[in-house]
């Protein structure tokens, strides 16, 4: 049973058991345009909630990806460095950025659910 939550910085985080997967939302991928470069964090790195964890670049924009919740990086989607287009093609699937372990359920619970994020995007 997995659960997905969202941040106001347009990241999503999906909790499966004790591991969470992080990526950027479809809305974010569309507003960035064609992604040309992704830098993912190294495995083992500890990140704090809201801390810079990855970088995504399109031709005209560069954005930092913040960790939606604190934890230790347990996996990184290295495929993105050679195929950054996956972020555009499947942002909430194959275009994931990294996985985290040790995410606190309290931090996770504070994030927006799909409905709340949907309303947030509409308000922009």
């Amino acid at each position: 049973m997995s659960e997905v939550r969202y941040t106001d910085q347009h990241e999503w985080i999906r909790l499966d058991g004790d591991e969470a997967t992080v990526g950027i939302t479809k809305y974010a991928a569309e507003s960035l345009g064609d992604v040309v470069f992704v830098e993912v964090p190294s495995v083992g790195k500890t990140v704090a909630a809201g801390g810079e964890a990855a970088v995504v670049e399109s031709v005209k924009a560069a954005s930092d990806i913040y960790a939606p919740a604190g934890g230790t990086v347990s996996a990184a989607n290295e495929v993105l460095s050679s195929e950054p287009s996956k972020v555009n093609d499947d942002p909430e699937g194959e275009g994931w950025f990294f996985k985290l372990k040790g995410v606190s359920s309290e931090e996770f619970g504070k994030l927006m659910d799909a409905d709340a994020y949907g309303k947030f995007v509409e308000s922009l």
Partner: protein
């Protein structure tokens, strides 16, 4: 067939040159596929590496050297440079040049870039052997004319800005910004204080926050007001004992004069901070307003904008920084002083005069001398009256464009008073047309114009920033206005054919920037089969 008064036919092979009708049995120009791949005066040009045939464009004697004095470091293999004769090299670059737009060939309305006329007298003066062939470390007794030229230019810059000192060595605007902030950093340290924050309006040029971060400060963004000026109240509220400086562009990047600037400067000084002014837009006020009277502590001057040194396809620039009394002592090396024997460069800390506390050195030698000569030639040519007139003409032309276009394009601050040397539009007039700012700009290219600055400043949506400069005649500006009006009206009328896919009449059409960034190819490499053959031949 039409005849001109010489009796010579004006039409060729049945195609009327004026009406461009296509006679039966001939090909319309756009349909013509050429055998060569070239099209009349438009030539395709290979890379210089693809033209290599082992020739040489110089005659240099073939001297052999023993290598005894090379420390065993003689190059083992070839470099891989192409070899061409002089005529081939000349043709290569002439053909390349013809693929470029230039001020000399047309109006270049790039806002914030100040593409004014580059007088050729400047070029001639910079090439006088006494300047162009002068070594930076030649004995100072043999470079007095060079030092005198720098001193004269310093005098002009100080007088025009109402500032007591100027650091000449910064090599471009961003380098000047860095120089200014390092002077501020040194001044703060000399007071025994630690200040970490620099306030930068959100409309600022990207170099401002980049420079502040580079100089070790944190950047705090200040919002703008609906009238396109910085929010002075918000700015004052952000001041505090940890604020080192503000970096404000004036006239600002929206092309507007910051009317509250004197108040802002006072508040900044009262808070113990310094006022860095980005002088990118000095061209609007030179000869009319002295930044020193506005409370500025440091300001770089882009000689390649305001004072007409050529942009050269992206440089070289020059960015001397004028400094207030409070910062003058911290100017970097070298310093220029006059003593009994004439002018002298002080090139090291120990030689610095009493009271001088140079924060360091921005670069080797003494700055962009070649640009100094050009800028001084411009200043002497204009004189103070011409500099003032040039500023006024630049402002007049921009306001004329604003007044002539704001009914068909959308000017976000068009009702907030006159603009300075550039007129800002946004993309709301293109709403629901399907045409973007980018499309609009690319359609201008087909009309024979370089586009205006697009998507900058960031504070308005789909920004289009038009700077005509003082170098355009009224006729030229009128024609430009006519073309932009027609384009705007067509877009709004739903006639979008010319926008989609523009430009069409250029050496290349829109280029795939995504592909370029995803798999960067940043240099030529010998094609694989050829590389393989070469390897086999070597073996």
């Amino acid at each position: 067939m039409s005849m001109n008064n010489q009796g010579r036919p004006t039409a060729i092979d049945g195609i009327d040159s004026r009406r461009r009708t296509v006679a039966p049995g001939t090909v319309a120009p756009e349909e013509l596929t050429t055998i060569s791949g070239d099209r009349g005066l438009d030539h395709e040009e290979k890379l210089i590496f693809e033209l290599d045939h082992g020739a040489t464009g110089v005659d240099i004697p073939d001297v052999q050297v023993s290598g005894d004095r090379l420390g065993g470091m003689r190059r083992a293999g070839p470099i891989g440079l192409p070899g061409l004769s002089e005529p081939e090299v000349v043709r290569h670059y002439v053909r390349l040049s013809r693929m470029n737009y230039a001020i000399d060939s047309g109006l270049y309305p790039l806002g914030s870039c100040t593409m004014k006329h580059n007088p050729r007298l400047n070029e001639k003066m910079a090439r006088l052997p006494g300047f162009g062939d002068l070594h930076p470390l030649a004995p100072q007794s043999t470079t007095q004319g060079g030092l005198a030229l720098i001193a004269q230019l310093m005098n002009w810059l100080e007088k025009l800005t109402g500032m007591p000192a100027v650091a000449m060595s910064p090599k471009a605007g961003a380098h000047g910004e860095l120089c200014g902030l390092l002077a501020i950093r040194a001044a703060i340290a000399a007071r025994g204080e630690k200040r970490t924050r620099v306030l930068v309006p959100e409309s600022a040029h990207g170099t401002n926050p980049a420079t502040a971060a580079f100089a070790g400060f944190t950047v705090d963004s200040v919002p703008g007001k609906p009238d396109g000026r910085v929010d002075a109240d918000a700015l004052k509220a952000k001041l505090g004992p940890d604020v080192a400086a503000i970096m404000l562009t004036n006239p600002n990047t929206c092309g507007l004069f910051e009317g509250e600037i004197v108040d802002i400067a006072k508040a900044v000084h009262d808070a113990g901070a310094y006022f860095y002014c980005d002088g990118a837009n000095f061209t609007a006020i030179a000869g009319r307003v002295r930044p020193g009277d506005l409370g500025v502590d440091a300001m770089h001057i882009n000689l390649h904008k305001t004072f007409s040194t050529p942009h050269g396809g992206g440089g070289p620039g020059a960015g001397p920084v004028v400094l207030s009394e409070r910062l003058a002592a911290f100017a970097p090396l070298p310093l220029l002083v006059a003593d009994g024997q004439g002018l002298r460069l002080i090139e090291d800390m120990a030689g610095a005069p009493q009271g001088a506390k140079p924060f360091g050195r921005m670069c080797a030698f003494h700055g962009q001398m070649g640009m100094f000569v050009r800028a001084l030639a411009y200043m002497l040519s204009h004189g103070r009256d011409g500099v003032r007139q040039a500023s006024e003409d630049a402002v007049l032309s921009a306001n004329y464009i604003l007044a002539s276009l704001k009914d068909v394009m959308s000017a976000p601050f068009g009702d907030d008073g006159p603009c300075m040397h550039e007129a800002l539009f946004d993309d709301s007039f293109l709403e629901d047309t399907g045409v973007t700012t980018l499309d609009f700009a690319k359609a201008m290219i087909d009309e024979g114009y370089h586009p205006m600055t697009m998507y900058f400043p960031l504070v308005v949506h789909g920004a289009m920033l038009i700077e005509p400069t003082e170098s355009e005649s009224k006729e030229s500006v009128d024609r430009f206005i006519h073309v932009l009006r027609e384009l705007a009206l067509e877009a709004k009328a739903g006639k979008t054919e010319r926008f989609a896919g523009a430009p069409r009449l250029t050496p290349r059409r829109r280029l795939d920037e995504t592909a370029a960034a995803r798999k960067p190819v940043l240099r030529w490499k010998k094609p694989e089969p050829a590389a393989k053959e070469a390897k086999e031949a070597a073996e």
